[in-house]
């Protein structure tokens, strides 16, 4: 059963009625003045009811950010962002949404239909206003979180919005927030540190195997965490957690600039598996109006024998700037990166990973599959480095690009740095095209041209799809077909 349907089924099991009256939410809540100043940061912090130390942390980031320059080394091209013209904190519904599904872009609805999303969820995703209260009654985060939390609490797992964690678990947040991605890390991460709106917090205690994949439901629910999402996941000694982020359904979003930060910490013998499906609005045929996605994701294999694995399926956004990385600090730790990045139309993707080997006998594996179609540009940028103390560091990288059509581009930029002679790095890279002969062969057997391309591409990305949790993989497969529509003919 696709995750979205499973979600609905699970939500229906919850007794919705008992929450019915609790959800006349004040959606007209105020928003911060336009532009970014210390006052904006104070406003956000106050809105969240944060303690003084958190405000100071944000202000410190803000002051650093003012001294920083936007990076320009990525192979992406976009007009300058007017940071002082943006809103950094706004109510969920700052501008009126469509009244019914009839007013929603038919293209979007067609996509929902293909993904098999029930009508009611389509309305939520498209931001239809009329049903808002009723829909909230079903999808309200508080009610559902309560149910899930019971199960998680029994296992001792903390899973809550980061704003709640700041209030309820300050000792954990203080210890780990910014410990993987420091506030001074990079322009976008620093901006996020100053103004982050909300996000998820996960703590898995020693020796606990988290009893469920985190987020099946929350993928839909956290639609208003905003443009500056902040996630912190800590796996204590000997624990395991699998976290799913994102949504296969394209969501309506008023914010063009997204700058999220995700920090993962794995202590001794712990394992974190983080899977993402990103399908934000890529813009129109000319590339206008699409989301700019500047993300900093980093995992710290802090403990011995720890393991962090990133799996991502990137199909949306006008611009993607994203390098989920692993710092392999603990001896014998392992980092993995599995990626499918699809670009079509005018999309620009500059994505990859960094594997920083610091500990002894650390290993890493990178499997990247880039697919470019239309007039898009798709760059893999990866760094593998071994510190001089990282004896016997090992990396295997396989980086394949597939081109569809004549007007797209695929680029591979691998950096390798070994400061120890015992490091062994292997790098394989291929670039191929879907040949007309392959397409003709499939068509001769009865597949349409689009079905043929989707089949060939799904074969190309199989190694990565296999890394996704089952239900996510099925959705991702459908999403790949949809993303490539219009890439042939």
């Amino acid at each position: 059963m696709p995750a979205v349907q499973e979600t609905v089924a699970r939500v229906r099991e919850i007794d919705v009625d008992q929450y019915k009256y609790g959800f006349v939410t004040d959606i007209e809540s105020d928003r911060a003045e336009k532009g970014l100043s210390e006052d904006t940061v104070r406003f956000i912090s106050a809105k969240k009811g944060e303690p003084e130390w958190m405000l100071e942390w944000r202000l410190d980031a803000y002051r650093r950010w003012r001294t920083m320059v936007e990076p320009d080394w990525a192979r992406v091209d976009y007009p300058p962002i007017a940071y002082d013209e943006l809103y950094y904190y706004s109510a969920p519904k700052s501008t009126p949404g469509p009244k019914t599904l009839d007013e929603v872009d038919p293209e979007l609805l067609r996509t929902y239909e293909k993904l098999g999303i029930p009508l009611r969820e389509q309305e939520v995703l498209a931001g239809v206003e009329q049903r808002r209260v009723a829909v909230d009654a079903v999808f309200d985060s508080v009610s559902v979180a309560t149910t899930f939390k019971k199960e998680l609490a029994a296992a001792g797992v903390i899973f809550c919005p980061i704003s709640e964690a700041i209030r309820e678990h300050p000792e954990l947040v203080k210890k780990y927030l910014g410990s993987v991605v420091p506030t001074s890390d990079n322009f976008f991460a620093t901006l996020n540190s100053a103004v982050f709106s909300d996000g998820s917090f996960v703590y898995v205690p020693k020796g606990v195997r988290c009893p469920m994949e985190l987020s099946t439901y929350f993928r839909i629910n956290e639609r208003n965490t905003g443009q500056f999402e902040r996630t912190l996941i800590i796996a204590d000694e000997g624990s395991y957690v699998s976290y799913l982020e994102g949504c296969t359904a394209p969501m309506r979003d008023e914010n063009q600039l997204h700058a999220a930060v995700v920090e993962l910490v794995a202590l001794d013998d712990a394992e974190i598996k983080y899977s993402t499906v990103q399908n934000w609005y890529p813009g129109d045929a000319e590339g206008k109006g699409g989301i700019y996605n500047f993300v900093t994701k980093r995992g710290d294999c802090r403990g011995r024998n720890s393991k962090i694995s990133w799996t991502q399926v990137e199909t949306g956004s006008a611009i993607t700037w994203k390098y989920p990385s692993c710092i392999l600090r603990g001896d014998n730790s392992r980092g993995e990166f599995y990626s499918i990045a699809i670009s079509n139309g005018r999309q620009q993707v500059d994505s990859g990973t960094k594997m920083i080997h610091l500990g002894k006998n650390t290993t890493s594996k990178i499997i990247s599959k880039g697919i470019s179609a239309g007039r898009s540009q798709n760059t893999y940028r990866g760094l593998v480095s071994a510190h001089r103390k990282a004896t016997n560091a090992r990396n295997f990288t396989n980086c394949d690009s597939l081109l569809i059509g004549e007007q797209c581009g695929a680029h591979t930029v691998p950096y390798l740095e070994a400061k120890t002679s015992t490091a062994v790095f292997e790098h394989e890279a291929t670039t191929s095209k879907i040949s007309d002969d392959q397409k003709f062969y499939c068509q001769q057997r009865g597949l349409s041209e689009e079905e043929a391309v989707a089949l060939i591409v799904n074969g190309f990305v199989k190694d990565v799809l296999q890394q996704l949790p089952m239900e996510f993989a099925v959705e991702a497969q459908k999403l790949i077909s949809i993303s490539l529509e219009g890439s042939v003919g």
Partner: protein
């Protein structure tokens, strides 16, 4: 079944087929022989609808339906099957997955529903066993790492599964040793039926010892230049194509 009249076709403005006529009745097996460059493979591609080829004149119908009015996938659903001389490889797509996608695409095009998976699996196993195709081969990427013989057997498996009306075999014997040739030919012969026709394109007579044709045509310079019974194939084997190259060129 298949009716081709005055077919002219070119690739990149270079004429290859120049007025070809062919009439194949239900249940018949026709062999088309000819020297290299006579346009045999072009004929198979033009019938199947490969994009690079342009039909400049003439017509082709399958059971009265205009082939040239259909896309390649529509022709397949209408019952035209081409066994490729060089079957393509599709990495990462298991043979089984491909077979299922193809069969169901054709069923949908004909307004039939998808075949339920258990029935599909049973059907494939049955057909595969007859061709000596192992379960392991069905799990591997389509034609990836297959030997020449395995690729050709896989073509016949697809033919058996899709149950076409008209099968065009393009140089199916190329690259096959005698044992593989036997297996493939037996597979084809098992599919001969009153309402199914075959056009067997080959350079050599030896394939026709295994797949016995009803009618043999000689093709040269884009046209059928001679038609006869099975004995014609033996004559060609003995004398070569030299006569025909000259005749058509004149």
């Amino acid at each position: 079944m298949l009716s081709i009249k005055n077919l002219h076709a070119s690739i990149e403005d270079k004429p290859i087929l120049r007025g070809l006529d062919l009439d194949v009745k239900p249940g018949e097996v026709h062999a088309i022989m000819g020297p290299n460059g006579s346009g045999k493979s072009t004929l198979s591609y033009v019938l199947a609808g490969k994009e690079d080829y342009e039909v400049t004149d003439g017509s082709a119908t399958l059971d009265g339906e205009d082939l040239f009015a259909m896309e390649a996938d529509e022709r397949a659903a209408a019952g035209l099957f081409l066994a490729f001389q060089y079957p393509l490889e599709i990495p990462g797509v298991a043979t089984m997955t491909f077979l299922k996608a193809a069969l169901n695409a054709q069923r949908r095009a004909r307004g039939e529903g998808d075949l339920p998976t258990p029935q599909f699996m049973k059907l494939v196993r049955e057909k595969a066993d007859g061709l000596g195709i192992s379960t392991d081969m069905l799990k591997r990427g389509l034609n990836v790492g297959f030997s020449g013989g395995e690729k050709k057997r896989n073509e016949i498996l697809q033919m058996a599964l899709l149950e076409p009306k008209l099968c065009v075999l393009d140089e199916t014997d190329s690259g096959l040793d005698i044992d593989a040739l036997k297996v493939v030919s037996e597979g084809v012969n098992a599919l001969r039926a009153k309402n199914r026709s075959f056009v067997v394109i080959t350079h050599y007579q030896r394939l026709l010892d295994h797949i016995r044709p009803d009618i043999v045509h000689v093709m040269a310079k884009g046209r059928i230049v001679r038609t006869g019974g099975p004995e014609l194939a033996h004559e060609l084997e003995a004398r070569g194509y030299a006569d025909y190259v000259g005749e058509a060129a004149a």
